[in-house]
């Protein structure tokens, strides 16, 4: 049976956070395409809406869903703030699936609710996901933005691990390990911007990343 991934990507270029996530999503899709027996469906730009998400889940029954976009305690958003998944509305869509949500705070309520209704595992953040960057524009420049990579590399390590078939707990641990490695680099750096603000933003994301549900779940 094919391994099926759905990935949401609002890819709004005028929004720096989404522009950066778009570049990393592109990198993750390349990785997924290298995996055997794996199909990936990307809901990009205005296709990152609830109607298309519902349809694609119904038609293809993905085992892994990778959300990228803005969020809040009880929801994950798509294009232009369109709500994709919200507590007490349609979280049933992600039952029996593994979820990774690079969406602010959604781990706080939505993640917990998803596990209650039968989502296998949920990796996300229970507070805002924050990062520092150099406001690059092109995909290549974004992926080479050292400032952003201190945080985005560990953040997406969990996605890499899941795509490679690792368990949810291992994916979370791999991500946490790189966060910690990078934190050690930052706090021992003699560059003031690294050992102060970049370190504090990374520490925040490290601290509030969570893994809920069955840690042994794998894709």
């Amino acid at each position: 049976m094919s391994r099926i991934i759905v990935i949401t990507n609002p890819a709004e270029q005028e929004d720096a956070a989404l522009r950066y996530l778009d570049s990393w999503v592109h990198k993750m899709i390349k990785l997924a395409k290298q995996q055997s027996d794996t199909l990936i469906f990307e809901l990009q730009k205005d296709r990152a809406n609830q109607k298309e998400l519902t349809q694609i889940i119904s038609d293809n029954k993905p085992q892994l869903i990778l959300f990228n976009g803005h969020g809040s305690d009880n929801c994950i958003m798509g294009y232009k703030g369109n709500i994709l998944i919200k507590c007490d509305e349609n979280e049933h869509l992600v039952k029996d699936k593994i979820i990774h949500a690079l969406s602010c705070s959604s781990g706080k309520e939505l993640g917990i609710q998803c596990i209650k209704i039968g989502t296998l595992a949920y990796i996300g953040y229970r507070e805002e996901f924050k990062f520092v960057h150099s406001n690059k524009q092109s995909r290549e420049d974004i992926l080479n933005d050292d400032m952003a990579n201190f945080i985005l590399e560990p953040a997406y390590e969990a996605v890499v691990a899941l795509i490679q078939g690792d368990t949810a707990k291992n994916a979370y641990n791999r991500s946490q390990e790189i966060y910690k490695e990078n934190l050690a680099v930052l706090i021992t750096s003699n560059r003031t911007e690294l050992n102060t603000i970049v370190a504090s933003q990374l520490f925040h994301d490290l601290k509030y990343q969570i893994c809920l549900g069955n840690g042994e779940a794998s894709f």
């Binding site: 956070a17 805002e128 924050k130 400032m147 910690k180 003031t192 911007e193 490290l206």
Partner: protein, 77 residues
């Protein structure tokens, strides 16, 4: 998690000082309300005690407290 109480002047000055040493091209983004502020714009947010500014200060103080109480180092070992 973050209280919305007033920032003390001391805390504000501390965080602004930390921001001022950063290269001006650095930007801060979050996925909550989609903000993207340059260094100088974040200084304005902190100075004006906006929600973004207070949130930023809270994150910085949490980090500084973690250094002080040793919990940050415990994370790394």
């Amino acid at each position: 998690m973050f209280n919305n109480n007033k920032i003390s002047e001391k805390e504000k000055r501390l965080i602004i000082a930390r921001l001022e040493v950063l290269p001006p091209e650095l930007h801060f983004s979050s996925g909550n309300n989609g903000y993207n502020f340059s260094r100088d714009e974040m200084i304005v947010q902190v100075e004006s005690e906006s929600d973004v500014g207070k949130n930023f200060v809270a994150t910085e103080l949490e980090f500084l407290r973690a250094i002080k109480d040793g919990s940050l180092i415990k994370q790394l070992v």
